[in-house]
């Protein structure tokens, strides 16, 4: 690294002043202390958090709260539902979304711009606005309180994101590849499945994971369209929380950690993409 580069680096990335460091520390504490408290509480005994001299760290740590979660049939059913619904959403969203993205990226037809506009607007519609009609419609076709109801709803609301993500990636594929496939006599469907999709596997996985997270985190639809047997963890925990009040905070925090764990794993797998590639490519800079 040359001397001149060092000076440039010092200007672009100046050292932090003392007030700057202090500010960063305070903001970081605001960001991270609640995460600590979530984790710490999950390992505390129920009596400990209600005691007068309640500690700020798990003095006598216990796994009971986690064990309790896995002994609770209702929560286990919720967990299973969460996996089924989120996986279903991921698969359907990627399949339908990849078709759509390929279409928007490499084909021109009338109505194409209208479709893109519809999806751009679609991502701004809040779920609450669709709730009643969706409820009535699903009920009239006997799909209320089924996995299908949740999966198709989540898929729809993940589609704009899935489509625009994949379209961005397919846009980067040179047209020569498609033309070569055509010259080789490959059908249009074969070109899509044998040439295009294999080339964008990382994008497909990323889109699938985002769709999974969407299905995993939702509350509103899970609460209204799923019914007691099919509802996912956020809805199950919320109903238990409202019903039982604040009876057992450590158990709730442990359940919260378990609910967050799959998302943390996905984040670790995708972190590079999240932090650097995505944000910088996503915003016009």
């Amino acid at each position: 690294m040359s001397h001149g580069r060092d000076i440039g680096e010092a200007i672009v990335r100046p050292r932090l002043s003392i007030p700057g460091r202090l500010g960063l520390l305070l903001l970081a504490l605001f960001g991270l202390l609640p995460v600590y408290w979530l984790t710490a509480t999950a390992f505390m005994k129920k009596e400990a958090v209600f005691a007068l001299d309640r500690p700020l760290f798990p003095v006598d740590p216990t796994l009971d709260n986690f064990i309790g979660f896995f002994q609770n049939d209702l929560l286990l059913q919720n967990l299973k539902n969460s996996f089924i619904v989120s996986t279903g959403t991921a698969v359907l969203a990627v399949l339908v979304g990849a078709f759509m993205a390929y279409s928007l990226s490499k084909f021109r037809y009338s109505g194409r711009n209208a479709i893109m506009f519809m999806f751009l607007i679609g991502q701004l519609i809040p779920g609450a606005l669709l709730l009643i009609s969706l409820f009535l419609m699903l009920s009239s076709v006997n799909l209320l309180y089924t996995y299908t109801a949740l999966i198709i709803s989540f898929t729809t609301f993940t589609l704009p994101l899935t489509v625009f993500l994949l379209k961005g990636i397919i846009d980067g594929l040179p047209d020569d590849i498609l033309e070569a496939a055509k010259v080789d006599g490959l059908s249009r469907i074969a070109t899509m499945f044998k040439i295009v999709f294999p080339l964008i596997v990382p994008g497909l996985i990323t889109a699938a994971m985002f769709a999974f997270m969407r299905g995993w985190s939702d509350l509103l639809f899970a609460l209204t369209l799923a019914g007691p047997d099919k509802q996912t963890l956020p809805a199950g925990l919320t109903q238990a929380f409202i019903r039982d009040g604040t009876a057992d905070w450590p158990a709730l925090m442990a359940a919260s950690l378990i609910t967050s764990l799959p998302l943390a794993i996905i984040f670790i797998l995708l972190q590079r993409y999240f932090v650097s590639g995505l944000a910088s490519g996503a915003v016009k800079g």
């Binding site: 050292r15 932090l16 021109r108 809040p126 409820f135 993500l165 969407r214 509103l220 919260s256």
Partner: protein, 311 residues
């Protein structure tokens, strides 16, 4: 929410066809292109667009989940809920505005600070993403626990340093502050990541030239860095505002809209009307009024989007 970051590509969809494509794609290709778009379009029409349109119909009926039949009442539902709508709109605007301003300030501040040379900044940036990652309900449970009047850690800490306890969820102002803080905590990482990535695209030559010309550090920030990030940040702020406007989980879990109706936003109110009182017609009327507002706000977003696109 996590879709937010990825929504960004939506703003860049105007990529023009590369040269040579039009000459090789025939009518059959166009048909094929349209056919593979159909599943997504149909799903979207049935699950998103049709419900929006059909809610306009429902809003004209006296319809309840408790009765199978419905009766046409014209605009009665609208007159019945209008006062309620205006009140809830005020609460929604308060929440959406505050829950947008604070994450933006916090996120931009963190981005600027993390853009400096500092040890462990990658680790810090990574771990500060954690709040954004958690499902909304988990964020709500966590902050409800922190703010718990009797056993919450906030009051515990306040007592330890000799300060008076605060009642957050028990009074109207405190409850609004509590949900805003929770939402701020959930959203700031997204703004931080966007602002940071935009800051990193700033050409270093500009900053170096300004330094040679004698610009101080604060001048460089004021006249070079800040104008550079203001557009993208305004865009994410608008999106954040739109999402906050429709927020359900933070408020519903933490306060249920209370105490009283001090934190009852449009989303919570609509849910309560529909699934608490089973008044589908009135709830739909509220939704339609909301939809009209949303159209106005969305136009602002699209306009901003287009302007940035042209830049």
């Amino acid at each position: 929410m996590q879709q937010a970051i990825l929504d960004r590509p939506a703003t860049r969809e105007t990529t023009e066809p590369r040269s040579g494509r039009r000459t090789t794609l025939g009518a059959k290709d166009r048909t094929f292109g349209f056919m593979i778009a159909l599943p997504a379009v149909l799903l979207f029409l049935v699950i998103a667009i049709y419900p929006l349109v059909s809610s306009i119909g429902t809003s004209l009926y006296d319809q309840s989940l408790l009765r199978p039949e419905r009766t046409f009442v014209g605009f009665d539902n609208y007159t019945a809920i209008f006062g309620e709508f205006v009140a809830r709109l005020g609460t929604t605007l308060t929440f959406a505005t505050l829950a947008t301003i604070f994450p933006v300030l916090l996120g931009v501040a963190l981005a600027v600070l993390l853009n400096a040379r500092i040890r462990g900044r990658n680790i810090l940036r990574g771990t500060l993403m954690l709040p954004w990652l958690l499902p909304g309900v988990v964020v709500s449970f966590l902050w409800a626990w922190i703010f718990n009047d009797s056993y919450g850690v906030l009051n515990h800490l306040l007592t330890m340093v000799g300060l008076p306890e605060v009642s957050m969820l028990g009074n109207p102002t405190g409850a609004m502050a509590a949900v805003v803080i929770a939402k701020t905590w959930h959203s700031f990482p997204w703004i931080m990541v966007v602002a940071l990535s935009v800051l990193q695209t700033l050409p270093s030559e500009q900053l170096e030239a300004a330094t040679i010309d004698g610009a101080t550090r604060s001048q460089r920030f004021r006249y070079i860095s800040l104008p550079h990030i203001v557009g993208p940040v305004a865009l994410v702020a608008t999106l954040e505002f739109i999402y906050n406007f429709g927020n359900f989980d933070t408020i519903f879990v933490m306060t249920g809209g209370g105490p009283g109706d001090s934190t009852t936003t449009l989303a919570v109110s609509l849910y309560q009307l529909a699934f608490g009182s089973y008044e589908l017609g009135k709830a739909s009327a509220m939704g339609v009024l909301w939809l009209i507002l949303l159209a106005i706000i969305s136009s602002a977003y699209l306009l901003l989007n287009r302007r940035l696109e042209k830049r």
